[in-house]
């Protein structure tokens, strides 16, 4: 049954939405928004692979037979916090570019660069 793969398709669709925003939009903030959607799709990919049918959250307790896989949770937990730190770095760069070029649009920045050359 192919329908059992639906979690991956959701991930692919989200990932491509993020990818489209990154390549088709010129605004730097919007590119960063696209990147965070892309990033979240990877989180969902890992977490959906960790899920086991009839499993519960991986906190040990009596009377529970099946736990979901804890390893991807650990990887993604740290990745989320690292993600916000790097997003902040990206936003900081966008702010500096806006200050230096007077615009956060890729095309305006390109034009100014070409004039300088």
């Amino acid at each position: 049954m192919l329908i059992g793969l639906y979690n991956y398709w959701v991930v692919v669709v989200l990932m491509m939405v993020g990818f489209y925003i990154v390549i088709a939009h010129g605004n730097l903030i919007k590119k960063i928004v696209g990147l965070s959607i892309f990033q979240t799709s990877v989180f969902i990919f890992y977490i959906s692979m960790a899920k086991v049918d009839n499993g519960t959250a991986p906190i040990l307790a009596n009377g529970i037979e099946q736990y979901s896989n804890p390893l991807p949770h650990v990887l993604i937990l740290t990745a989320i916090v690292v993600g916000i730190a790097t997003t902040a770095l990206g936003l900081a760069l966008a702010v500096r570019i806006k200050e230096a070029y007077g615009s956060a649009e890729e095309e305006d920045i390109q034009k100014k660069d070409n004039l300088d050359c």
Binding site: M1, G26, A57, L60, P70, V74, T78, G83, L91, E99
Partner: protein, 314 residues
Amino acid sequence: MKDLLAVVMLLGIYSLLSASFFVLMDAVDVAFTEAAVGAGISTLLMLLAITMTGRTEHPTRHKPLLALAVVVVTGSLLIYGTLDMPYFGSAEAPIHQHVAPRYINDSMQEIGVPNIVTSVLASYRAFDTFGEVVVIFTAGMGVLALLSTVRRSEDNETIDSFNQSMHEQHLILRIVSKMMIPFILLFALYVQFHGDFGPGGGFQAGVIFASAIFLYTMLFGMSTARRVINQSFIQILAATGVLLYGSVGVVSLLNGKEFFDYSALSADPVAGQHLGILLIELGVGITVAAVMVIIFFNFADRRGYSPDKESEDL
């Protein structure tokens, strides 16, 4: 959508929704982090950034059809690639056969902590987490290098007068939030030290702690917050967290065990593990909270600062 404010708000809602389906997929720790980071801090930072880069987007797009074609081709290749993947929820998938059974079956004897996510994060894969903490620290330093401004007293006065007029208008908001802040800080500490037994830990606690400080800053203005939290103090704290984490590893090296083997910290291996996890979670919490505050303060400071002033001074 041309209005970036709406875009950022939708991104916040999307993050909160993704947190809710992380809960459905049993990843409670991850959902906790995503709710605090994605819906809270990241939305706030994006809003701060758009106040500086402009709220509207240029309508032109470059070659949307070409972009669409690239996206569709990549997407279909990826979907083709998923056809060999194990089904959703299948217990026989290769990912569940490798190290996961050891974590689930043996972590109670080896680490003695009910939350498996915490024992993997802080003990089995402590080296990995150390790397992540260093990355967060480095990103914080990067933001500091990019955005830090030399503050001048005359700027302070104008900001102060602006703050006063704004804050008098929101009396109820101010009083209610003032009552909330101690509880948020207390909750952060609970999350920090209860991470061994339930969902939580240093990463979430650091983010929640930082958000209480953000709330305070938003209500009482930057200059008041600056008086409470000194910039150089918070920078030292960020470094202290990383050092605390690293030195736990060094202590276990000096005691003749491997790097981050906490059984070296105490005569009883399980007690040593408890102590080690507590210490490194504390290090993580301190670093994450300090770095988030550094990032927020530098973004907030950059507002109302014009680069022309700097060039005049030079």
